[in-house]
Amino acid sequence: MKITDIFQETYTALSANKARSSLTILGIVIGIGSVIAMVSIGQGASGQIQSSIEGLGSNLLTVSPGAAQQGRGFVSQGRGSAQTLKNEDVDVLRKIEGVVAISPERQGRYQIVSPLGNNTNSTVVGMSPEYAQVRNVSIENGYFVSDANVRNLGRVVVLGPTVATDLFGEENPVGKTIRVNKLNFKVIGVLQSKGSAGFFNPDDMVFVPIITMQKILAGGDYLSSIAISVESQDLMPQVQEEATMAIADKHRVDLESLDFSIVSQAEILGTLTQVTDTFTLFLAAVAGISLLVGGIGIMNMMLTTVTERTREIGLRKSIGAKKKDISVQFLVEAVMLTVIGGILGIILGWLLSFIISTLSGLATTISLSSVMLAVGVSAGIGIVFGYYPARRAARLSPIDALRYE
């Protein structure tokens, strides 16, 4: 039996019962389509988080006060609550080779009121001018905080774009005076928008000089974090180690009982990627269940077909078809159903992810690997769920099959 003959037989058989074939294919279409769409959403989300994190500054190490809590990742460290990081630690860190810039930071949340009467509650970050370089932010309008502002205890503030819009709407805030925690600050600049990084929004922040933050707004000369920009990716582990030693030495603590922790951006990214990967896997698993149901539909249809066509099988055997010919024919029918379903499913999945990305702004990506996987999986499902019906057809004895009413 030639391949063209098999395909012609398959075409005839499948087109003989179009409604049933279509409904069975639909099961696979939905299964494959949802797997593709879900994986593309997951990969899109993960890609977006990754690019946002990278946008926050490259080759970044973050020093946080308090001991690292083993196994809980960076999100749940008691950041800001411990008061072990001091301004002097920054000077120690500057001596380390490979360090490009250091940004000491102190955060708090305060009520902010504009002269227009709008108010918002936002994160106020006290920082030095190096912040812009380390955190990769740039000014849209006006000026960033200068060294002079820091030294002079200047009551100046730079607004994140979200805060600027909340307080001033379309008006230009530069030069206006706002009240942060009931104290007057002059707006000297507005930052460019960076977009949300998933867990926090750098656009929804305001920035004041670090000393002003410590002395006037928050009180206490400790820091909530120190961000270190390292010269290159390769130097990251070395700088991380030296920084740990230097601060430990300064704090007079041994390495087993550190009162601070240093995480690299790669570690943060790793944690987040792990989260999004788990999320993607979960979505794909849910979609995979519908694929399984589709496969069972294929098997159901093929078993019905074999029963219905028992006489045909008997006839084919009587005119010389071997077991192999019969089983190949039924197997190809099942695989054909799933492959057609798989191709339509890819189109459906692509449409779904396109619609989702249009509606939500999430940049979904359909990778070649997920398409290849979908085609492979659907053909595999055809083989797995078509095997048993095909074997049953092939094993029918020609006499019984011819007699079958």
């Binding site: 039996m1 005839t12 010389g320 071997k322």
Partner: protein, 249 residues
């Protein structure tokens, strides 16, 4: 054995002490008890018996669809009784053409495709298929204008002639017809019987016809009577009927 006697080479079918027993749990049914007979090349034989006589089982064994429980069956001087399923399939593909009571055509395929079907399993290439199928349709007197029709659009008599063309298409040694007129009225039955008689007389084909009707059996040259799993009579037909083809052609 000598094997030089002139009749030996002409044996197409040689059944020696064929026994067929079906077991269903503890119950054994002896369908064929001890059957021996020969059919020569070029004969037109009817195997006749009432239902339950074992004639269908005999037909299955002759047609290489089944193997006997014991005994030997030589088809074209080859012992078929010990062949595997796939070897039996090859025998059917190359040497036997079947015609069934219920026609057994593929309903959603054209006449031409139905006739071509056995050639697919006999691995014959496409150009040859068409030539062979057209010749077989001519031989079974199937009108050319219907070749492209779907088989389920045809009348019973037409369907059976498609089935005969399908049986002829690979130029088999033996045509085995199981109650070929059973689903047809008398008139179309006559046409089918006429086709068999012409194939026998004009082309010298070997035909074995299984039937329970004496009237149908009398169109053959020889009748083997089967009853209760035994051959009770094997005789030449004295007043052979010639099918009256009512104005066909």
């Amino acid at each position: 054995m000598g094997g030089v006697e002139p009749w030996e080479g002409k044996d197409m079918i040689n059944c020696k002490n064929i026994i067929k027993t079906y077991k269903n749990g503890d119950i054994e049914t002896h369908v064929l008890k001890n059957v021996s007979f020969k059919i020569n090349d070029g004969e037109f034989v009817a195997i006749m018996g009432p239902s339950g006589s074992g004639k269908s089982t005999l037909m299955h064994i002759i047609g290489c669809l089944d193997t006997p429980t014991s005994g030997q069956y030589f088809f074209d001087n080859k012992d078929v009784s010990k062949l595997s399923d796939d070897e039996l399939a090859d025998m059917r593909a190359e040497k036997i053409g079947f015609v069934f009571q219920a026609f057994n055509l593929l309903p959603r395929a054209t006449v031409l495709r139905n006739v071509t079907l056995p050639l697919i399993y006999a691995d014959i290439n496409e150009e040859k298929r068409k030539v062979k199928a057209e010749k077989a349709l001519h031989d079974s007197a199937f009108p050319e204008e219907f070749w492209g029709h779907y088989s389920n659009q045809l009348s019973g008599g037409m369907m059976q002639r498609v089935a005969i063309a399908r049986a002829l298409v690979n130029n088999p040694m033996l045509i085995l017809a199981d109650e070929p007129t059973g689903n047809l009225d008398t008139k179309t039955g006559e046409i089918v019987l006429d086709t068999f008689q012409r194939l026998h007389m004009e082309q010298g084909r070997t035909i074995v016809l299984i039937t329970h009707e004496p009237y149908v059996a009398e169109h053959a040259e020889r009748i083997i009577h089967v009853r209760d799993g035994n051959i009770v009579n094997d005789e030449k037909v004295k007043n052979r009927r010639i099918a009256n083809n009512h104005g066909h052609h």
